[in-house]
């Protein structure tokens, strides 16, 4: 009877999910309630977790709770620490949840809500969660080895080297693009700039408190820090209203780019306890609070989604970024559906802390489902505003025109009505000078979040506070990715440099620290600078580059996973990783080809460079702009070269893997699986370690 009831409940959940998905796919009326998105996402996640992850756990991986995990066998209270599964879920989720699932869906909303929402839900269930779960499992079975080490051991030495180089290259592009999102969010906004600037002295204060007064008392220090950050969000309004102070904190894109580079260098070179760690603590609490509040806000307010299911921009003429829905929707959504970077976390700290193999399903598969839900919420927040407003905020002046009147006329001519007074009123309500041409996704997401929050608490009166809270939240945790990433990049550069000259690898040697920090900041700083100067807003070229690199790394992770499963003799179920891997190779190769060779200069890097070169040759560029145009031509060619490098890396790894797979399948190659030997757990079933 109980079993029948359980089956009945799951059938009801499946039907509810299918009905909600059908509604959001087929509805063509005025506005659709966000409740349908929440029901569709949650029901699909529940069914995917209950059925697909259980199938993978049982048939493919054969998770074994009698087998001692590295955390049990190697428990040292430091690296290897058996951790409660709920706490580890929180750790893992905090590590994988970055700005990607917020920014990607916001940008992809230009195609309409449907393509992005479907990919967020299906992509995570069949690709993202699968990657995170299986890589976590593989790493647990190998004492917490990293993705690079597993690629070297299981695929080939060259494969391991490619994976390591890919990580460094992706990190550089990632840091540049997230820094550009922050620059575009803070540009000409004294309130937001002041708030974010003040988080630096707050972090320094917390760093000193945690180092000298109360070492390691993270919780109390973070609570003090969060209270101070909330105060500066409010105080930002006083700064913005004071002409003298507003002038000090009104910075151009170039000035902000250099300020962020200086910050990245300082965070990388200064002692970690002083700036980087306390900022990370602050960011973790605010991130958790903001995501929870957004979910609660959407459930309470149930905003209407005004964006149509599909816009005309699926044809590739979108103002936010150019390119057709295939492959650019998938490249743009990236982290909310599948992120290659997650494989670094799944093969980093988490496998060393897991108590039971069985927990890998909840932590690996489950945390990615939650990340996808964050992406769906971002999509709802972006699509809840009138489409005309969305396009006015996210379109660069080179596409829609620089003046409010021209921009609104252009956008209205596409069928998305908006006028200059509406935009002026909205900007005034959120405490900004203007909301036109604020590309990058962060300002439009902040407007969407602020409208949801203010409908829950405070009404119109608090709209400006909520908007700046949302901007601070996005910028704060983007900068956390930036400073932590710069520091890791510095270590990678030092490690590579040590192969040429040993002392360079000493992490405490100051000249090495300064040179390697400067190198890594210069690398991402260059791409950031070119993005700031790009007349199309930078996001048009950098976000697809980031998406291609991120999805390429995911393909690398799935190649490693497929090879391991093949060696485990799981040929019957190999499609579980092979299918998403093939899909990622198809979308990254198509996007790379189009970004390099497409005839449309807004899509193809080489075409853009050639168009500008032809303009110079025809004498159409004034002498004063000649140097700038030549730099833009160089940047376009550089972006083409970087895209080509990513494509070649994934193709070389694929060839390496195919050689390995053919050898295994034909029986010519001896199967050597680098798993740690089985050791029985000493913990009783259901008992937990410390």
């Amino acid at each position: 009877m109980k079993r029948l009831l359980t089956i009945g409940v799951w059938i009801a959940i499946a039907f509810a999910g299918a009905y909600a998905l059908g509604t959001i796919a087929l509805y063509r009326g005025e506005a659709l309630s966000a409740t349908w998105f929440v029901i569709a996402a949650l029901c699909c996640y529940l069914v995917a977790y209950r059925l697909y992850s259980a199938f993978i756990a049982a048939k493919l991986l054969a998770l074994d709770d009698t087998r001692a995990t590295p955390a049990e066998r190697l428990d040292d209270g430091r690296d290897f620490v058996p951790t409660n599964k709920w706490v580890l879920f929180g750790h893992h989720f905090a590590a994988i949840a970055g700005p990607g699932p917020l920014v990607g869906p916001t940008l992809a909303a230009q195609f309409g809500y449907l393509p992005g929402t479907l990919w967020l839900i299906a992509g995570c269930a069949f690709a993202g969660c699968v990657q995170d779960f299986i890589i976590l499992f593989c790493s647990i079975r190998r004492d917490g080895k990293t993705l690079g080490e597993m690629a070297r051991d299981e695929v080939s030495k060259r494969g391991g080297f490619i994976a390591q180089i890919a990580v460094l290259a992706i990190m550089i592009i990632l840091l540049a693009v997230v820094a550009l999102v922050v620059v575009n969010a803070l540009k000409s906004s004294p309130w937001a700039t002041f708030t974010l600037a003040m988080t630096i002295p707050i972090a320094l204060l917390l760093g000193i408190y945690l180092r000298f007064f109360r070492p390691g008392r993270v919780l109390e220090a973070s609570l003090i820090g969060v209270a101070l950050v909330m105060f500066v969000v409010v105080a930002g309004q006083w700064v913005a209203e004071s002409p003298a102070w507003a002038h000090v904190f009104t910075l151009s894109g170039v000035a902000l780019a250099f300020a962020i580079m200086v910050y990245g260098f300082a965070a990388s070179a200064l002692p970690v306890w002083l700036l980087l760690a306390p900022r990370d603590y602050l960011s973790a609490f605010i991130k958790a609070g903001a995501i929870f509040s957004l979910a609660a806000g959407i459930l309470i307010v149930r905003p209407a989604v005004h964006m149509p299911a599909l816009t005309k921009f699926i044809d590739g003429t979108g103002p936010v970024f150019a390119g057709k829905v295939f492959p650019f929707c998938f490249i743009t959504i990236a982290c909310g559906a599948i992120s290659g970077f997650h494989s670094l976390i799944s093969s980093g700290t988490t496998p060393k802390m897991i108590q039971r193999e069985g927990h890998a399903r909840f932590i690996g598969y489950g945390a990615m489902l939650l990340e996808s839900f964050v992406g769906v919420m971002a999509m709802v927040a972006a699509c809840a505003m009138p489409p005309g407003v969305y396009f006015a905020i996210n379109s660069p002046p080179a596409v829609v025109g620089a003046s409010p009147e021209v921009a609104t006329a252009t956008i209205s001519s596409w069928g998305y009505q908006v006028d200059a007074p509406t935009m002026a009123n909205l900007a005034h309500a959120v405490g900004e000078q203007t909301l036109f041409n604020r590309t990058g996704g962060a300002p439009s997401l902040a407007v969407g979040m602020a409208q949801i929050f203010s409908s829950t608490i405070g009404g119109e009166r608090l709209l400006s506070i909520w908007y700046h809270f949302a901007i601070m939240f996005e910028a704060l945790f983007i900068l956390t990715v930036l400073d932590a990433g710069t520091r890791v990049g510095r270590f990678m550069v030092q490690e590579l440099g040590s192969q040429l000259w040993k002392p360079f690898g000493r992490t405490g040697w100051m000249p090495g620290v300064i040179i390697s920090s400067a190198f890594i900041v210069a690398a991402w700083g260059y791409f950031l600078y070119q993005g700031v100067l790009d007349p199309l807003g930078g996001i048009n070229s950098l976000w697809p580059l980031f998406g291609i690199s991120n999805q390429s790394l995911a393909a690398v992770a799935l190649v490693v996973a497929t090879t391991i499963l093949m060696k485990m003799g799981k040929l019957r179920w190999i499609w579980v990783t092979l299918a998403p891997m093939a899909w990622l190779v198809i979308i990254t190769m198509t996007a790379s080809w189009q970004k390099i060779f497409h005839a449309n200069p807004r899509i193809g890097f080489l075409s853009a460079a050639n168009t500008m070169a032809a303009q110079i040759a025809a004498g159409k560029i004034p002498a004063a702009k000649l140097a700038d145009t030549q730099r833009l031509i160089f940047n376009q060619r550089l972006d083409a070269a970087v895209t080509a490098v990513f494509a070649v890396m994934i193709l070389v790894l694929l060839v390496e893997a195919l050689v390995q797979w053919t050898g295994i399948l034909s029986g010519r190659r001896k199967i050597v699986l680098q798993e740690s030997p089985y050791v029985a757990t000493k913990w009783a079933a259901g008992a937990e370690g410390d």
């Binding site: 428990d75 040292d76 209270g77 430091r78 690296d79 620490v81 951790t83 409660n84 709920w86 706490v87 929180g90 750790h91 905090a94 590590a95 994988i96 949840a97 970055g98 700005p99 990607g100 990580v167 990632l174 997230v178 945690l210 180092r211 070492p215 390691g216 008392r217 993270v218 919780l219 109390e220 973070s222 970690v272 306890w273 980087l276 760690a277 990370d280 603590y281 973790a284 609490f285 990236a334 982290c335 992120s339 970077f341 997650h342 670094l344 976390i345 980093g348 700290t349 956390t480 990715v481 932590a484 990433g485 520091r487 890791v488 270590f491 992490t507 980031f546 991120n550 410390d690």
Partner: protein, 70 residues
């Protein structure tokens, strides 16, 4: 009735304690206590680090590998 109320009060207090402990574990506040317990359990030959030493060494390790994602 009074007994039910008392049972509910105890359950609520336990749940709160668990939540607080989980929060401390999640943010790293309880890391030193866990290390000290593990050190005592495994009878390590190495000297027990002070809270300050442990805090600084953990930070160095945590931020020298990929710890935050995109």
């Amino acid at each position: 009735m009074a007994r039910n109320f008392e049972t509910m009060r105890i359950s609520a207090a336990q749940a709160l304690r668990q939540f607080w402990q989980g929060l401390r574990e999640w943010c790293g506040d309880a890391a030193y206590e866990r290390y000290a317990r593990s050190h005592a359990r495994h009878c390590c030959t190495a000297a027990l680090l002070t809270r300050e030493q442990f805090y600084l060494e953990e930070l160095q390790k945590k931020y020298s590998r990929v710890s935050r994602c995109c």
